[in-house]
Amino acid sequence: MKERVREVAGKVFGVDTKSLDLESSPDSVEQWDSLNHMKLLLALEEEFNIQFTDQEIADMMSIGNIIEIVSAKGC
């Protein structure tokens, strides 16, 4: 699952998956702007067939964060 989250993020941002780690965030990844953030969460919802709550969306501050949230949804 962790790998899939990173892969989706890499594809949406158009960057090498290897360049993303748990700490990666809008501050450290140039392509991670608000629009790509939206695209990322839509892509993750499609990938895992889940839906994030508004609170979860607000909490997504890093790849590590996102992995926690996705895993808490039972993926």
């Binding site: 892969e7 594809k11 608000s34 695209k39 919802e45």
Partner: protein, 604 residues
């Protein structure tokens, strides 16, 4: 791309765009400007991906959020340039007039009129503003009706209800656009209807990021816009190639027989009838229909010509490849014979194997798999694909099949035989004529019931009737079987001769299945029947032609076979042939004709 979806994930699409970026950058550019008062940026990868599929590099530039009027008028940050090819306009009513959407109940009639007036002048301003800047194609998106109008069930009862206002505004805009000449209307209500309310709207993203649509909705909307671009670029598909068994009808015609295949008034036959109706719609829109089936050609044509519930007609098929070769080879042949490139073709089949094979071997051909357990979805799978969509419809479209058929015939004659006799000889036709065998009673009765074209009297018999005749020594029931180089066609002909007077026997029934016509077999059949009648001691053979709606081609049959006209009454003609008259003869191209006596007449 089936059922309104591209078929790969959003992340994968973006990955593909990245991987193929060098290739796509070299494609011809299509510059699209999007003016909007909603967030639709997530749609971009879909449109770019679809564009790349037809060889275009679609480049989107988005206007500022809710800056449509300013940008259409040519403000400071105008995205429209001299290079702009398309302008898409997305206007959400909720942003345009929050009052009309959110506070409708408090509005008085004059408020409503004033609001509508105001919106109409905004819409005109935007359209004419765009037109001052560019001649580009405009793709204007409709307003969506409200699933839950503020007046609830009362809204629909009123001519000035909330949804009635939205409809009025849509009609106003459509009217403006129809005068433009280079503008197209994209109906978002249709996009929404295809997905359903919950799969279309994402209220969460609307409030968080002013994006009203789900990812799925954006895919559907992108696809709908793309269909227009594709049609304008002439990249829509021209030709639909269909499998037969379990595609045009349920079951396998060679195994289940004509009466066993599922086609007609009960499920699943009903679903196949509708599927065929949809194909006929495509034909009338100018799409070329071809067959590609692993089958006995005769069985397929028998279904086409003799199954009463067939909607699709043989003459509507521009080209058929019915044989046991692989389907990729056959599609290639169709492409060559009709002179239609592979990227103009769509192939539909119920077999995953065939679909897979064609996709792998001929990447340019679009394929649609018809899942065996979803027969009821076949019509929808065809109508939702949109591959054939075009923006025009002419009289010429309706006759296009004929034009392609002529082309095919030309190609065939060129590539095959010097003349018809040569061709017929090459078929190695073997005919076996004998007195009817009791095991064929069902088939003989079926022939009398189904055969229309080559049937001199069109008298229908039941199995009991035929069984009764076989018991009477005075009645001659003669059957014909046929084989050729391509296979065994089985029992395809029947003649019934009954005494008329002491020295005269009459041909009560003479018929041949239409799949064996045009090969001179009918002449040989008549020859053998008469010969046998004379061998039995009869002096005169009488033949009758009773015209029906379909048997016109047999009108001259007896005369050409050496019969004389005896009398004509009520359109019915009686002919006669005497023992001393010349027999019809056996056409020389027939390889073997075993007659009732057991002799091979072709060898003589």
């Amino acid at each position: 791309m089936v059922n309104g979806s591209i078929g790969i994930t959003y992340a994968e699409i973006q990955h593909q765009l990245k991987v193929q970026s060098q290739k796509i950058d070299k494609f011809a550019k299509i510059q699209v400007v999007i003016l909007r008062n909603v967030t639709v940026e997530p749609m971009e990868p879909y449109l770019r991906y679809l564009g790349a599929d037809i060889g275009y590099n679609i480049i989107l530039s988005f206007g500022q959020y809710d800056n449509v009027v300013q940008e259409s008028m040519g403000g400071e940050t105008v995205p429209i340039t001299g290079e702009t090819d398309y302008v898409m306009v997305f206007l959400s009513m909720e942003t345009l007039s929050a009052r009309l959407v959110r506070r409708f109940v408090e509005m008085k009639m004059e408020d409503i009129e004033k609001e509508i007036d105001g919106i109409q002048s905004q819409l005109s301003t935007i359209l004419f503003g765009i037109r001052k800047q560019t001649d580009a194609v405009i793709l204007w998106h409709s307003f969506e009706s409200l699933p839950y109008p503020s007046l609830g069930i009362l809204d629909n009862q009123r001519a000035d209800g909330q949804n009635a206002c939205i409809l009025r505004l849509n009609n106003f805009m459509k009217g403006l656009l129809s005068n433009d000449g280079n503008a197209n209307w994209v109906d978002l209500n249709i996009c929404r209807a295809r997905l359903g309310e919950d799969r279309y709207y994402d209220r969460r993203m609307w409030y968080i990021g002013k994006c009203p649509y789900t990812l799925e909705a954006m895919e559907t909307i992108a696809l709908e816009n793309f269909k227009i671009i594709r049609a304008l670029k002439g990249k829509n598909r021209k030709c639909l190639v269909l499998d037969c068994d379990n595609t045009l009808w349920g079951g396998v015609v060679a195994e289940d027989g004509l009466s066993g295949i599922k086609l007609g008034t009960t499920y699943p036959g009903t679903a196949f009838v509708d599927f065929q109706n949809e194909i006929v719609n495509l034909i009338q829109r100018g799409v070329i229909i071809c067959l590609c089936s692993k089958n006995n050609e005769e069985d397929v044509w028998e279904a086409f010509e003799e199954h009463p519930e067939m909607v699709l007609k043989r003459e509507q098929i521009a080209c058929a490849q019915i044989n046991w070769d692989d389907k990729a080879t056959n599609l290639q042949r169709i492409s060559e014979q009709l002179n239609i490139s592979l990227d103009g073709m769509v192939f539909m089949d119920d077999s995953e194997f065939e679909i897979e094979l064609v996709s792998k071997m001929l990447a340019d051909v679009k394929t649609i798999l018809l899942p065996k357990d979803r027969v009821y979805d076949y019509t929808m799978l065809l109508s939702s694909c949109g591959y054939f969509d075009s923006l025009s419809f002419s009289e010429e479209d309706k006759i296009r099949t004929d034009m392609y058929k002529t082309e095919r015939k030309r190609q065939e004659v060129k590539s095959h035989y010097a003349d018809l006799t040569d061709y017929l000889k090459s078929l190695e036709i073997k005919v076996e004529i004998r007195y009817a065998q009791p095991e064929y009673i069902a088939r003989l009765a079926q022939l009398t019931q189904r055969t229309n074209q080559f049937n001199l009297t069109t008298i229908r018999y039941t199995e009991d009737d035929i069984a009764g005749m076989l018991e009477k020594t005075s009645v001659m029931v003669i059957q014909l079987k046929l084989k050729d180089r391509f296979g065994d066609m089985g029992l395809v002909g029947l003649a019934i001769l009954m005494p008329c007077s002491n020295d005269t026997i009459g041909i009560n029934t003479l018929l041949l299945s239409c799949r064996v016509l045009g090969r001179g077999v009918e002449k040989a059949f008549l020859h053998c029947c008469i010969e046998e009648a004379y061998a039995k001691g009869w002096k005169v053979v009488e033949g009758r032609f009773v015209p029906s709606r379909k048997n016109g081609q047999t009108k001259e049959f007896y005369r050409k076979g050496g019969f004389r006209t005896k009398r004509e009454t009520n359109g019915e003609t009686v002919f006669e042939h005497c023992r001393k008259d010349k027999l019809p003869g056996i056409p020389e191209h027939l390889l073997r004709v075993v007659s009732v006596s057991g002799k091979d007449l072709a060898a003589i």
